[in-house]
């Protein structure tokens, strides 16, 4: 490698990688929270990693007859049929016009998929970066906001959203809509 800049970069990567495994876990890790930043209907949002059981890309979604416009269909994930909902529609951000190839699967017992536009990444941030939850009058759900690096991400309360969907009784028995 004749490029000294690139050589330094490689060295930094190796050092950081080695350091991550050599250092002991810090107590401060308990004050950290993993948040997945995504784009929903072209707007940044964040999902709590602990409320997600997995992310999947480019899974084929089979449309099913339904009166609910936010229900996109069903997909086979981890050997189970999972209903897929349009997260933008659920958050009343409007029907997704562009493709939403990403699916976040929640609740491993009764899995439920939430489709969104794109994945930005995973952020491990201090819990104080997340604001206290306030009640959103429009959706009737509490709403928290992540502020990091001068960027604001509304946090989607996936657990409450899932409970709300299940409270409607439409998740466990999707066939009833027929």
């Amino acid at each position: 490698m004749s490029d000294p800049l690139l050589y330094g970069k490689v060295a930094d990567l190796r050092r950081a990688f080695d350091q991550a495994f050599s250092a002991a876990p810090t107590t401060a890790d308990a004050e950290l929270e993993d948040l997945i930043t995504v784009q929903i209907a072209g707007k940044p949002h964040a999902l709590r990693a602990r409320e997600i059981s997995g992310l999947f890309l480019h899974r084929s979604v089979l449309k099913v007859p339904t009166r609910r416009s936010e229900l996109l269909g069903i997909a086979g994930i981890r050997s189970a049929l999972v209903p897929i909902y349009d997260l933008a529609a659920l958050l009343e951000l409007g029907q997704s016009t562009s493709a939403s190839p990403w699916i976040a699967v929640c609740d491993s017992l009764e899995p439920l998929g939430l489709s969104f536009q794109s994945l930005e990444g995973l952020l491990r941030v201090a819990k104080n970066c997340v604001s206290e939850a306030t009640l959103d009058t429009a959706s009737g759900l509490p709403r928290s906001v992540l502020r990091v690096n001068d960027q604001t991400y509304p946090i989607v309360e996936v657990g409450l959203l899932v409970k709300k969907l299940k409270g409607l009784g439409t998740l466990s028995e999707p066939g009833k809509d027929r």
């Binding site: 991550a20 495994f21 876990p25 990693a49 997995g54 995973l122």
Partner: protein, 486 residues
């Protein structure tokens, strides 16, 4: 009919001369007639004189005869002898003088016969006196007297004839003199009247013509004066113009010399240019070979660059694969992180690994993104280079063609420079000839200037003459009008 002055004056003189000739002819004819009359009168007097002499001779012969008869001496016969000598010539003269008169010729014949008879009687009587005496001779006297009487009658008749002729000729001479006097007087009067009329007519005509001519002269002299004034002004302007032309010609001469020097320089430079062009032609040929070599190298570069483009596409595909792997790794790492988070404290160590894997996947994704950008840059650069190289190849090809054209152009330049050299030499020669011509023109212009000055002086003289002519025409008009008034 418009007659000229000369014709009119000649006609006047001709009429006068004709009248003089007429009068002279009449006078001559009448004088000649008078002289003829006078000659005839003189002739008649001569005839009378000869008749008188003849009668006197005969009387002398008779007187001498009688004296001899009386005295008997020969001395008394001398008048007789003298008469005998004169009678013949007198008769001959009378015959000549009266040759134009038949009557007188016949009378003269009678007189001659009577004279011969008388002289015969006298001679016979003288012979008798001498031989027989006085008495015998006296008988002859009677016969002689009768002959003598007859002779006297004949002579008297002749004298009467001559007197009648004399009277008749005197009357004719007098009437001729009167006729001559009348004719001369009438001819002179007629000539005087005719010449006077002709003179009056000619004078009137001449006056009219002279008046018209003087008016024309005055008008012409006025126009001549104006023309002379204008000509003098024009001559002054021409003089000024010739001065300017002369100055311009001097400048032109100087310029022509400069042009000749420039033409010499141009010829020298053209020679140098021709030399340079020939050298440039060789250089262009070498450059053309070099360009062909460059073209081959450029084609090789294009081939290599296209190959490099293909290779970079292949690298891009591999990078896409790596990127795909990185994305999947990232998803896997995120899911692992999610799983670790769901496992609580037990999954913390796994979460660290998953986080590192995610970071590694992020870095790989970032690196692949950089690599993709670099590959895109490489492909873009390759494309740009290929295009530039192809453009360069085309430019080299065009340059090669242009070098061929340049070679042709250099040859043309060499030829044109040769032509330029010849032209410059011709210009130099022409300019020298032009300089000579300009000098000649300058000399001619100097002569023209001199002629213009002389022309100006001549114009002034013409102006003065025109003024004098105007004054003269006015004076002539005044004289004519005065004559007419008089």
């Amino acid at each position: 009919m418009a007659w000229t002055f000369g014709k009119k004056i000649a006609a006047g003189f001709g009429i006068s001369v004709a009248m003089l000739v007429l009068v002279g002819m009449i006078a001559y004819r009448e004088t000649d007639s008078l002289m003829e009359n006078d000659r005839m009168v003189t002739h008649t007097h001569t005839v009378l004189e000869q008749l008188t002499l003849l009668l006197s001779a005969m009387q002398d012969a008779e007187t001498a005869h009688r004296g001899f008869l009386v005295m008997g001496e020969d001395t008394y016969l001398e008048p007789y002898q003298s008469a005998l000598a004169h009678i013949g010539p007198i008769l001959s003269t009378l015959r000549g003088l009266t040759s134009d008169n038949d009557r007188q010729q016949r009378r003269l014949d009678q007189a001659d016969a009577l004279i011969q008879s008388k002289l015969g009687v006298i001679k016979h009587s003288i012979e008798l006196r001498r031989t027989e005496g006085m008495l015998s001779a006296r008988t002859e006297l009677t016969e002689g007297k009768q002959v003598m009487d007859d002779f006297r009658r004949v002579v008297q008749a002749m004298e009467q004839e001559e007197h009648d002729l004399l009277k008749q000729r005197s009357s004719a001479a007098e009437s001729g003199a009167k006729a001559a006097q009348f004719g001369i007087a009438a001819a002179s009067l007629f000539a005087l009247l005719f010449v006077g009329l002709a003179g009056w007519t000619i004078t009137r005509s001449l006056n009219a013509q002279l008046s018209s001519a003087t008016a024309n002269i005055r008008s012409s002299s006025t126009e001549l004066e104006a023309a002379a004034t204008q000509q003098a002004s024009g001559a002054r302007e021409q003089s000024s113009a010739t001065s300017e032309v002369s100055t311009t010609l001097r400048e032109l001469l100087s310029t022509a010399k400069q042009i000749a020097e420039s033409a010499q320089r141009v010829a020298r430079i053209a020679d140098d240019t021709a030399h340079g062009a020939r050298s440039g032609d060789e250089t262009v040929l070498r450059a053309s070979d070099a360009v062909q070599s460059i073209k081959r190298q450029v084609d090789l570069i294009v081939a290599h660059m296209l190959d490099l483009g293909k290779k970079s596409q292949q690298v891009g595909g591999i990078v896409e694969l790596i990127n795909e792997l990185a994305e999947q790794t990232n998803i896997l790492a995120i899911n692992a992180t999610i799983e670790a988070a769901g496992a609580g404290d037990a999954g913390k160590r796994f979460g660290v690994v998953a986080d590192e894997i995610r970071k590694l996947a992020d870095r790989v994704a970032g690196s692949t993104k950089e690599i993709r950008g670099l590959i895109d840059d490489i492909r873009s650069a390759v494309n740009t280079t290929v295009m530039a190289t192809e453009g360069g190849s085309k430019a080299v090809e065009a340059g090669s063609k242009q070098f061929v054209e340049l070679t042709t152009s250099f040859k043309q330049i060499v030829e044109l420079v040769g032509t330029t050299t010849e032209a410059a030499r011709e210009i130099e020669l022409s300019t020298k000839q032009q300089s000579t011509a300009v000098e000649q023109v300058n000399l001619a212009i100097t002569n023209v200037a001199q002629a213009t000055k002389e022309n100006e002086a001549s114009s002034n003289q013409t102006l003065q003459t025109a003024r004098q002519l105007t004054a003269l025409s006015r004076e002539l008009t005044r004289m004519i009008q005065t004559d007419e008034a008089a």
